[in-house]
Point group: C2
Chain length 204, copies 2
């Protein structure tokens, strides 16, 4: 009987560098989880490969998959669909492998509903923790800039609420190390480990 | 205003190798937490240094500290007291540094009551996960040996209940890596991080 893998969800405000961090993690040889490739209806950019960067689909195909409930999450941005095929995720978890998703916050909310036991990591821009300094050196910025920054920060902090972990993207390597540490730690959490031992004793 | 450090408690069944793992962690240059030295009334063994391995105290001094409520936890084993001085722990946490305790399970239970927010890590012997194999190859061991092993395993699994994390001591280096990953991850937990950001917004 195979123990299920962990579903790891990396998300965060747009522009925070989720894609860069994800690419760095998967370029490291000791990364032991599987990347779930997203599906999109947008055109491939130069150098992007179907089945590597994205699964590129027509709008008709994508909408058919929505109809058939074949997407774990999806959203529309500037006229294009983006989503996560559910079958790959479920099959890989069933094989006992950890699956890594890098998705937008709207998508993460949908995944949380379907996989409440997933491991949800929120990547925050370093500007959020620089906020205090910015306010202290208020004289150097206009009132409008400060107010705008405060509004954005409030939104970002409110988004955090859904997540288990918050990782600051101050340096890509450090952010990657923290994410990998979180996955190692999560595999040691008593709630996850204990049932395995209890099951051992049940054997007769 | 200084954020408090984490109290990290490493414990586990006697003989599991807590001391060896702790020494390995503190021999590594990148370890960023402070070791809380225990106090004991037993005599120093060869090579042991007062204030390094233990604080060696007389029975009278130790009992006076118990009276004055100056011990975070203590227990008596084979006629000797062992305990953790509380002042060092509190002062170091107040300085924002993480404090690491390596103590017996009875002590860990006392610490949990006083520091429910601490990070409690249970080190398990690899024999626990080998249990299943042992049962499968039952023919090679007597019924008594198996029954005894089962009883011990049940006790060990029951002890786990108090802890946040379970780390298997299959290899010292691997156990150390997992413990350090747990500390990194715990610093990223949303419940710990979020208040810091919320506080930033309160500045006016």
């Amino acid at each position: 009987m195979q123990e299920k893998g962990l579903l790891i969800v990396l998300s965060g405000p747009s522009g925070v560098g989720k894609g860069t961090v994800r690419k760095e993690i998967f370029s490291q040889p000791d990364t032991s989880f599987e990347y779930s490739i997203s599906m999109t209806t947008r055109s491939p950019r130069e150098g992007e490969v179907d089945g590597v960067d994205y699964f590129f689909k027509t709008r008709e195909d994508f909408e058919a998959l929505i109809e058939q409930d074949k997407l774990l999450e999806y959203a529309e941005f500037v006229g294009n669909y983006y989503g996560t095929p559910v079958d790959y995720v479920k099959e890989t978890l069933d094989q006992g492998k950890d699956v890594f998703l890098e998705i937008e916050v709207q998508g993460a909310r949908q995944v949380r509903e379907k996989f409440p036991d997933g491991l949800f990591i929120f990547l925050v821009p370093p500007s959020l923790s620089e906020l205090k300094n910015r306010i202290v050196t208020r004289g150097t910025e206009t009132e409008d800039v400060i107010n705008n920054r405060m509004t954005v920060a409030k939104e970002e902090i409110e988004m955090m609420n859904l997540y288990d972990y918050v990782v600051e993207n101050d340096q890509i390597e450090r952010a990657c190390d923290r994410i990998k540490a979180i996955v190692v730690a999560e595999h040691c959490r008593r709630e996850r480990v204990e049932p395995r031992y209890i099951k051992m004793l049940e054997v007769d």
